[in-house]
Amino acid sequence: MRTSIWLACAVVGAGAVASGPAVSQEALKIGVPTALTGTYAGLGNEAVRAVEFAAEQVNAKGGVAGRKVEIKTLDSEAKPEVARKQAEKLALEGYKILTGTIASGEGLAMAPMLARWDAIYVSTINKSDKLTGESCGPRVFRVNKQDAQDAAVVKPWLAKRKEGKWAIMAADIAWGRDSGRSFVEAAKAGKKQIVAELYSPFGTNDFAPFIQEIKSSGAEGLWVALAGRDAINFATQAKEFGILDKIFVAGVSFVTDNTVKALGPISKGVWGIINYSSTLDTPANKAFVEAWKKKYNGDEPTNFEGETYMGMQVIFQAVERAKSVKPMNVAKAMHGGTFDTILGKLKIRAEDHQIVAPNFFGYIGERDGKLRPIITETISAETATPAPTGTCKMAAF
């Protein structure tokens, strides 16, 4: 037994020596504090898949400017205080470029600690406006769409809808509250009436009381901001009570590629914001989808996987430009920079570090014999991204 352990050590040691000269520069270490258990476990697994895919792809080509990419993932349970602890652990172990975190509350908990850890955080899923608003900073970046960008899409769409009375069903966390607030504003602008505004505790089992409230409110339309397990529980139970058939339903992060897989026909006909779709017709996206399908047995990348992959593309290009893996050097390269992504050439605003990106709208329908989100409207990056609100006071580098 003992001999075999020594032997194993020797083999590993020899391997390390042998592979040493091939990658001579300091590795690019990316930490992923994300939800591997709990309500957002499904989303966390998507983020991890995308990060691993991107790392493997670039490592196969010799790394990022000769630097090997190393990944470490820790479970944050989608809880802000756990995320902060796990991110700190990752940063102390040298994984100082953090990404792939799900809940906005987690990103907001990590943001003020980044300077102390000498780390940077690149959000690929957090939506709360605060992250690139009040909580913005030189070390915080967002490569996915924020609530304001989703709201910019919802506003004109809602104004055109014939339903006059609307209910809101959202998760009682930073993102859900944000999304609910923007929908109320959009409703005001479109002269729609909000008849019920409901926020469910994170990780709710039984949505029946909320569904009953929606039913008795007389709403004709329903806006849903629930994700992961919450989304599946709500959709199943809403179907059971018949409101999915009687009320017009739309939402954000509600019926995504992954929840459609679990829900099946229940999700058909639900409208919503689509932040990324594997069907987008750009050469870069097509190449990405093909490579992805090859690795994951014909599965297409989901919206969260696409967005997280985009985040990795931005990180890699920033490291190349910075010629360094020092977090602050990478941050400087990202600040105001333009990057090649699967959604085209996109800019990260210097004012608040928000990416200026196109957004999409559509519904769940059948295409190629498969139920999936189908894009009906594409909103250009300029229209989809409102100007910075001024809440972000970016500190000097």
């Binding site: 476990a41 505790p201 089992n205 039984d206 029946a208 009381p209 599946i232 059971e240 897989k261």
Partner: protein
């Protein structure tokens, strides 16, 4: 209003089936079974797999039986050898078991959320005083009522029920009277686990399946057991029904405090009536 009361009964009913299993096991073995939530979760997954092949009713039966068998195994291999140890040892071991079972589910059924369809026969809704209510939810209430009724008859009438009540009150004296408490315990733990499996499958058409789904129900079940009085069957029933209603009306009328109310109820019970509603008697 009526529909909200019914909704409370559905949730309370589910909680009852899970917690009464905990109460059964606690009554005999004097341990808090942390693995109970994961038995519920495994029950849901087994039900999901069987339902895909052999229909919903087969799934309910198979899941309950498989989990009952697992429960018997749990008693013989884990709880019995540890009965002379400090209770904290058993608690830690069952907690470890919870982690193992979660990983097991992740390995067998994957990490993605799964969804079990509502059985076609019960997918419609029923009109109750002019309000439509999903038929499947009525089934959940019916199952909970049947379990409560069946269990109390079994405990009152059958000989083994008598032994269970006696062992719950005082295992040592019961053993001195010539009752083989180990044998009683196997039956009881199997029954408790079987009920966890049953409730898992019954709730699968309502809830998303994930390896960590057990933890969502376990905490509320603990509250039910404490509020009802440790080891009390009647207490668990009353407490589950109360918490079902409180949970439901809390979300409707005081949403900002809803998640806190069950905990406050538990704190109140612990302060003013530490032995629980039923005073910790069978």
């Amino acid at each position: 209003m009526l529909v909200q009361v019914l909704n409370g009964l559905v949730y309370g009913g589910l909680l009852y089936i899970v917690s009464v299993g905990l109460v059964l096991i606690f009554g005999l073995r004097r341990i808090v079974n942390f693995a109970h939530g994961s038995l519920f979760m495994i029950g849901a997954y087994v039900g999901f797999s069987v339902a895909a092949m052999g229909g919903f009713w087969g799934a309910v039966l198979v899941a309950a039986l498989v989990l009952a068998l697992a429960g018997a195994l749990l008693d013989v291999t884990v709880l019995r050898p540890l009965q002379r140890e400090d209770p904290i040892v058993t608690v830690l071991v069952t907690f470890g078991l919870l982690l193992v079972l979660e990983n097991f589910a992740q390995f067998v059924w994957g990490k993605d959320f799964l969804k079990m369809p509502v059985p076609a026969m019960l997918s419609g809704s029923v009109s109750i005083f002019g309000e439509s209510f999903p038929a499947y939810r009525l089934l959940v209430i019916a199952v909970a009522a049947a379990v409560a009724l069946g269990l109390s008859v079994w405990l009152r009438v059958s000989r083994i029920g008598l032994y269970v009540r006696a062992s719950s009150a005082d295992p040592l004296t019961t053993a001195m009277q010539g009752v083989n408490t180990d044998r009683v315990s196997v039956v009881v733990v199997a029954l408790g686990a079987g009920l966890a499996g049953l409730s898992g499958t019954i709730s699968a058409p309502l809830l998303a399946l994930s390896p960590s789904m057990g933890s969502y129900i376990l905490i509320e079940s603990f509250i039910v057991v404490v509020v009802g009085g440790l080891g009390s069957f009647v207490g668990a029933f009353v407490a589950a029904m109360v918490i079902g209603q409180v949970h439901n009306f809390g979300l409707v009328y005081v949403p900002w405090a809803a998640t806190m109310i069950p905990f406050l109820l538990m704190v109140a019970v612990l302060i003013w009536r530490p032995t629980g509603i039923a005073g910790s008697h069978v």
